[in-house]
């Protein structure tokens, strides 16, 4: 139960911030302010804009894929080579260049300094470099459309040997698609490392006075832990990409066994394709949580703020984030059951996979319990947060199926897998991204996003995603394989599967259209949205307490804020308002009866 008493310790003895202020870089020109900017907010917007732009390319690729799958032999401009290129680029862009960049480069950059009470990241110059190097990575990737042979069609997992053999699009003699993909990934990882060092060091070293680790909002916890995962996992992809580039360009055989291609013995020999799979998934599985953990953190804050209730089990939420982060490094081979492995390894990885469901489920329970008896406001961020919870549970449960080796083997490489991972790491995190944009857009621009367009966007995206992916699970069960250009006449696949495929494609086009409405809303509301004021959601965390909205360069005016409480003092019994910002000292809290209530600080006993 909550208790409002606070006695002798209730003295405002925290003096104004004495945190050493950092030396700020003050740009003077337009270019210094908005192009070569070292301000974390500008960099965040640059990251987000680039990520959304390349994400739109990936969205269009998914439309093209769906056109082919839904209506085979209809579109003459899509041949098998194109199709494989669409599949590969769609997957890689969405996972790396959109989701990772947007969650960490976008939200991480914008929110970390504001939420921990810092003026900027600790290494602003490195932060700026991080964005520009990321942009180079994106441009190199885009360039692969303009080289002979076009982009690689190896599938987003880039498995050797096929990824660099001449039968694969982008890998024939004189083609550059696969080279540019590998180079782009290596550049991206350099960019991410520069950003990641910043996020971790800023969270550890630049928090303002009173902001202990356990007073940080869960958003920061999620982004922080995801960044640590990224820093430790991306080197595996880097190593894999560099070694494959060596195989391709210098003729080494790291991943290439002795191989005969079109009747010709190649010069490769002795390498291990499985080694690449291990490296790829040692990165690839933590990558799922690099995307999921920031989403977990953000959704916790959205739910708490819009249900006007403190997050249930804050400590457990932190522990769960840390535990998931640790466990995510020992589950990778569940992506490789069909590659062949010692049965004991299969047993080990199936077990760890099921164990990681425990802290994850704990988080879901805590979100539900936060909503329990909360004062739920069905705002757009809340709708998206609830949409995420439902979707994540659905996608997570099919993960339990696939995590078991015996069930995975028959389902492997079917549409069931595609449906599973799109639900759990496609739709679910994207819903959080949307919720977060609806939530923080007012802080970034000073205006609210237009709600009618917003509701249209939510309902079409949410319901549409289910209409796309629920039937896709069924297609997987009946045996429709993934990565096939067309199924043709296959004995065990009923004709009705084709009808379902067409339906899915139509839904994909509709959901895609809803995203265009969202983009229009982003632009429209910039000038015509309702004015938001500094704290439209009446939220407690620090970013809503800035003196200006949008926050100006340096964020906090002349002195840094002082933090007196955690980020979840909503509906504190005895307090007049249903929220108490982190910057309000105990003696400044107004009591319900209007009198001075110097002792209000919720305490659970």
């Amino acid at each position: 139960m909550a208790d409002v008493t606070r006695t002798d310790v209730d003295i405002d003895y925290v003096p104004p911030a004495e945190v050493e202020d950092i030396e700020m870089h003050h740009p003077k020109s337009f270019i210094g302010k908005y192009v070569w900017s070292q301000d974390h907010k500008v960099i965040a917007i640059q990251y987000s804009g680039t990520a959304l732009a390349i994400g739109m390319v990936a969205l269009v690729l998914s439309w093209l894929m769906r056109l082919q799958l839904g209506f085979p032999e209809t579109f003459s401009f899509i041949d098998p080579v194109d199709y494989y290129q669409f599949v590969t680029m769609h997957g890689m862009i969405m996972v790396i260049y959109l989701l990772t960049a947007l969650f960490l480069g976008g939200f991480g950059n914008y929110l970390i300094p504001l939420m921990v009470g810092a003026r900027d990241m600790v290494f602003p110059y490195l932060n700026m470099l991080s964005y520009w190097v990321y942009l180079v990575a994106v441009l190199v990737l885009v360039a692969s459309w303009f080289v002979p042979g076009g982009p690689t069609g190896a599938g987003w997992t880039l498995y050797p040997p096929q990824a660099i053999l001449s039968g694969t699009p982008g890998a024939a003699e004189g083609e550059w698609g696969i080279n540019l993909m590998l180079i782009s990934l290596a550049i991206f990882i350099v960019a991410f490392t520069m950003g990641g060092l910043n996020y971790v060091t800023t969270v550890l070293q630049a928090r303002t006075r009173g902001m202990t680790l356990m007073r940080m909002p869960l958003t920061v916890w999620g982004i922080f832990t995801a960044t640590v995962l990224g820093l430790l996992a991306f080197p595996a992809l880097f190593v894999g990409a560099v070694m494959m580039a060596f195989d391709r360009l210098l003729g080494t055989s790291f991943f290439m066994p002795a191989i005969v291609e079109f009747g010709q013995q190649l010069e490769y020999g002795g390498g291990s394709p499985i080694l690449f799979q291990h490296l790829f998934w040692f990165f690839g599985h933590p990558e799922v949580y690099i995307v999921a953990l920031p989403a977990f953190g953000i959704v916790s804050d959205l739910i708490s703020t819009h249900a006007r209730k403190n997050i249930f089990g804050y400590r457990m939420m932190v522990w769960a984030i840390v535990a998931i982060g640790g466990l995510s490094f020992i589950v990778w081979a569940h992506h490789m059951y069909v590659s062949g492995m010692n049965p004991w390894f299969g047993f080990f990885f199936a077990t760890t996979t099921l164990i990681i469901a425990v802290p994850t489920a704990l988080k879901v329970y805590n979100w539900v319990l936060t909503l329990w008896k909360g004062n739920i406001h069905l705002t757009l961020p809340m709708l998206f947060a609830i949409g995420f919870m439902v979707t994540f549970v659905n996608g997570g449960i099919t993960g339990l199926f696939l995590g078991n080796a015996v069930i995975d083997v028959p389902l492997s490489d079917t549409m069931f897998v595609v449906a599973h991972f799109h639900m759990v790491m496609g739709v679910a995190p994207i819903l959080v991204i949307f919720g977060a944009i609806y939530h923080w857009y007012p802080k970034m621009t000073g205006r609210m996003l237009e709600p009618i367009m917003g509701h249209f966007h939510f309902w079409v995206t949410f319901l549409g995603s289910y209409l796309i992916y629920f039937p896709m699970h069924y297609l997987g069960f009946v045996g429709v394989p993934r990565r096939y250009y067309e199924i043709g006449e296959t004995l065990f696949i009923p004709d009705s599967a084709q009808g379902l495929n067409a339906f899915i494609s139509v839904m994909a086009l509709i959901v895609g259209f809803a995203q265009l409405v969202f983009l229009y809303n982003l632009v429209w509301s910039l000038t015509k949205g309702k004015e938001a004021g500094g704290n439209p959601w009446k939220a407690t965390s620090l970013e809503w307490q800035t003196p200006q909205t949008p926050p100006e360069h340096g964020n906090w005016g002349p002195s840094l804020p002082v933090v007196y409480r955690w980020a979840y003092d909503y509906s504190v019994p005895g307090a007049k308002d249903d929220y108490t910002p982190q910057t309000v000292a105990p003696s400044k809290v107004e009591a319900e009866d209007g009198g001075g209530a110097s002792s209000i600080r919720a305490e659970k006993t």
Binding site: V14, T252, F254, G270, K604
Partner: protein, 218 residues
């Protein structure tokens, strides 16, 4: 700071609130650049650890021929050790505010790094000359990859070294360059440790590491 102890605290309680109010914003006693560099070390450690695992995995497979050990590699190890000593000299001199020592240490450190890098290039050439082509020998492929990546880290370090040297020779007061000299020094120490580990992996006495690995696996 004890991370695991910290995350057991209950921030919503009044008693913890009183303690948390005392938090003076310094999470760790070291300055941010030093912490940032150490986080980077973690990244680089994972990078080379993964390469080492891949190397060990390949060693136990069929068709493995160990690299021929050359006196040049030992010479290179020597020059990298001297590099670290030179940087340490610069670091200690910076603490004592002896500008000549800082200049001497930095100059020697930079020069010895170049000697090391040239030595590595020469080793590449020697291996190529003795029919250990990159493509034909897995050991040599790994040798190129591992030494190349290690060398690139040193080249990156030389950028920081150049900034530090420019500042010192331009007469920037020592207290203002102390941090960057310090950072360069621990970076070089770290890369020395990494190289010693990799050197041990690549040239374990008599190429007997695969035998040991195989015994371990079976």
């Amino acid at each position: 700071m004890n991370f695991f102890h910290d995350i057991t605290r209950k921030p919503w309680t009044a008693s913890q609130g009183a303690l948390d109010d005392l938090h003076d914003a310094a999470a760790m006693s070291q300055p941010a650049p030093k912490l940032g560099l150490k986080v980077f070390f973690a990244v680089v450690t994972v990078l080379f650890a993964l390469l080492s695992v891949a190397y060990a995995e390949r060693m136990v497979a069929a068709g493995w021929r160990p690299l021929p050990e050359t006196w040049l590699m030992w010479l290179n190890v020597g020059s990298l050790v001297l590099c670290s000593v030179a940087f340490q000299w610069a670091r200690v001199s910076a603490r004592r505010e002896e500008v000549d020592g800082v200049k001497g240490g930095l100059a020697a450190g930079g020069a010895l790094t170049l000697v090391f890098l040239l030595g590595q290039l020469l080793a590449w050439q020697q291996l190529n000359a003795s029919n250990f082509y990159t493509g034909t020998s897995p050991a040599n492929s790994f040798f190129f990859l591992i030494t190349g990546l290690h060398g690139l880290h040193l080249v990156g370090g030389l950028v920081a070294w150049a900034v530090a040297s420019l500042k010192v020779w331009r007469g920037v007061p020592l207290p203002k360059v102390r941090m960057i000299v310090e950072l360069c020094t621990i970076y070089w120490h770290f890369l020395l440790v990494v190289w010693l580990a990799l050197f041990g992996l690549l040239f374990f006495p008599g190429g007997s590491l695969p035998v040991i690995c195989r015994a371990f696996v079976s």
